[in-house]
């Protein structure tokens, strides 16, 4: 008995290690290599940096969505908040770089209010978060349209756009270094710390796993719920500011991003309805999804078929996750 255990131990350790590596990381590496075969520039540091820069907003959105999903809810309002951020940014700055800083502060305040409202509606009015954030999506989209009159004009000042656009050149070893990657690194580190290294993070998992048990254990479930929606909304404003630097001002910058953020988390092994998820998984899932889009574009697939591919990947990722859990149980 003791002997078999001793023989088994090294093998099982390897197995647990293999089981612990996030499946999204493996898929990401495979997809990235496939991209590199088509476009060798992606293997150079500059190619990698550019890939990360463009994937950063989705990764940030996924990091925020991770908190809500882990607590057992959904936040479908983030895409509309991204749109509101970009449109609000262009309306408030009015082409004057001097307005940028208070505009950004104002946009974060708007995000804070949206997050608080989402959280309060779920925590106190007990409206299921799908419906609550769906209603918020409609309202925020409507507000963005109202604000811009449906046809936004103008452009964002350069110091607003730098978070998405600015690239440091002549950096040793890696050559170029986009500011967006630094933003992503800061956001991801903060999210990692909050979810995996603090008592608050434990509470989020506890609420997602079993809210009643968490409550009996002394967790203020209502405050945790509000906090996760605030985190998600703030991440959406951050992503919006970065996306404002990428392209022009339009009413559909944020369209569908909420579903992409949920999809990214799901691909990264985050369990819907709460209780299970990792920051590494969420970010890896976002990068995987983005790598998939990039690859499909490189293969010359029309946009609609990219939707189809996204649908297949989404179902496959969740089915594989469910299958793994059933096998492990």
């Amino acid at each position: 008995m003791t002997l078999t255990l001793k023989v088994d131990r090294p093998k099982s350790r390897v197995l647990t290690l293999a089981g612990r590596v996030n499946i999204a990381v493996i898929v990401l590496i495979a997809l990235y290599l496939a991209i590199s075969v088509r476009q060798p520039i992606y293997l150079e540091p500059a190619g990698l940096m550019n890939f990360l820069r463009r994937a950063a907003p989705l990764a940030i959105l996924a990091s925020g969505q991770l908190f809500v999903l882990t607590s057992g809810g959904f936040d479908l309002s983030v895409g509309s908040l991204v749109t509101l951020t970009v449109i609000g940014g262009s309306m408030l700055t009015a082409n004057d770089p001097g307005n940028t800083w208070w505009t950004i502060a104002f946009l974060y305040t708007v995000g804070l209010i949206v997050g608080l409202l989402n959280g309060a509606v779920v925590a106190y009015l007990k409206v299921p978060s799908i419906i609550a954030t769906l209603g918020m999506l409609l309202s925020v989209n409507g507000a963005a349209m109202m604000w811009s009159g449906g046809a936004p004009r103008g452009y964002l000042p350069d110091n607003f756009r730098m978070f998405g656009r600015l690239v440091f050149h002549d950096v040793p070893i890696i050559g170029i270094f986009p500011l967006a990657i630094a933003v992503l690194a800061v956001v991801a580190s903060l999210a990692y710390w909050a979810l995996h290294r603090t008592v608050f993070g434990r509470w989020v998992f506890a609420v997602g796993d079993n809210p009643r048990a968490a409550e009996l254990g002394g967790v203020r479930v209502d405050l945790v719920r509000i906090a996760v929606f605030v985190i998600s909304a703030l991440s959406a404003v951050t992503a919006g500011i970065m996306l404002g630097g990428f392209g022009g001002v339009s009413v559909d910058v944020g369209l569908g991003l909420e579903l992409q953020a949920v999809a990214a988390c799901v691909v990264g092994g985050v369990q819907l309805m709460g209780g299970r998820g990792t920051l590494i998984g969420a970010v890896a899932g976002a990068l995987t999804l983005f790598a998939l889009f990039t690859l499909l574009t490189l293969l010359g697939l029309p946009q609609p078929l990219k939707d189809t591919a996204q649908g297949i990947i989404l179902i496959a990722a969740v089915a594989i996750g469910a299958w793994r859990r059933r096998r492990a149980a």
Partner: protein, 328 residues
């Protein structure tokens, strides 16, 4: 009254919940009448106005009836908007304006939607994929395939098929009659058949239902089949009304989110196990009258959007705010 009668009646009342449909119905109508009188748009109150109102209910109503079934079963269907587009385009593309292609087109559309419903159900039950993700994924797949094949209005429906949307029985359009026939059919399916009882059981407590001998997978697959079929019917109706189908008709109508919203506003529990089709119809009536109310009051399109979001939240909160348990 025997003990069993009392027990079934109590169970029936519990299942139906409070008198939501009636309240919602009276509230929507009262608001509509008040706004019409206030703004002096009294022509909205004559027969034509009322018929117009009812006709506006058809497209959302039919798909929402189907959505009611899956939500009672504790599931959800986000693929209905895309299914509607597929049905509308398929119908007009196959018909190409020919009368003799009407029946084959309708048959193919209904078969396609039945298959999509079964696929949804199988992914959810056999692959154990969360219904939100499963139907979202299937919706993306459908929309992708559709938009890759068609970029604009495809084909057309013959004038005979347009009668579906435009002909009337006396003053009442056939489509309105159809909606209420379907609703009565749905109500009796839920109220008077074994499938209905099992569906409530599965939505209330899937594991308990399974232990009691209900074939939960089969029940859920059937509910998804019904939901997809109702989306297919809505697609056919839209093709008839628009005289052709385009790959964006479903998405433009936001039928996925709106159908879920009216079901929940109608008193069906999003978590499943409780609710019914009359509440859903009352929810549809609320949405349709609100649209007309806003128009009569001269609220422009974007503020309407903002208000609509707030109304969805508040209407659902009216049921949920007394919940003692936890809601995510």
């Amino acid at each position: 009254m025997s003990a069993v009668d009392v027990a079934t009646r109590a169970a029936w009342l519990r299942r139906r919940g409070p008198r939501v449909p009636a309240l919602l119905f009276v509230g929507s109508v009262a608001l509509y009448v008040a706004v019409a009188l206030w703004t002096g748009e009294t022509r909205m109150l004559d027969t034509d106005g009322i018929i117009g109102l009812l006709q506006r209910m058809v497209a959302l109503g039919v798909v929402a009836l189907g959505q009611t079934f899956v939500i009672i079963g504790g599931s959800i269907d986000l693929s209905v908007a895309n299914m509607i587009s597929v049905a509308a385009v398929l119908a007009s593309f196959i018909m190409q304006g020919h009368v003799d292609m009407m029946l084959p087109a309708v048959a193919i559309v209904l078969a396609t939607s039945a298959i999509v419903g079964v696929v949804n159900g199988l992914i959810i039950t056999r692959l154990a994929v969360n219904p939100l993700i499963a139907t979202l994924g299937v919706g993306l797949i459908l929309q992708g395939l559709l938009s890759a094949s068609f970029t604009n209005f495809a084909g057309s429906v013959p004038p005979e098929f347009q009668l579906v949307a435009y002909s009337t029985l006396g003053v009442v359009p056939y489509s309105v009659v159809g909606l209420f026939v379907l609703a009565a059919l749905g109500a009796s399916l839920l109220r008077a058949t074994r499938f209905g009882a099992h569906l409530y059981a599965v939505g209330g407590n899937a594991e308990g239902a399974r232990l009691a001998g209900v074939r939960t997978n089969r029940v859920l697959i059937l509910a998804h089949l019904i939901c997809s079929l109702s989306a297919g019917l809505t697609g056919l109706y839209l093709a008839s009304r628009l005289r052709s189908g385009a790959p964006w008709v479903g998405r433009d109508g936001v039928y996925d989110l709106e159908s879920i919203a009216v079901v929940v506003i109608g008193g069906t529990l999003l978590a499943g196990g409780r609710g019914g089709v009359w509440g859903t119809l009352a929810g549809v009536l609320l949405f349709v009258t609100l649209d007309v109310d806003f128009n009569m009051l001269g609220v422009s399109a974007y503020p309407q959007l903002v208000l609509r979001g707030a109304i969805v939240i508040l209407a659902v909160a009216a049921y949920t705010f007394r919940t003692r348990g936890h809601v995510a």
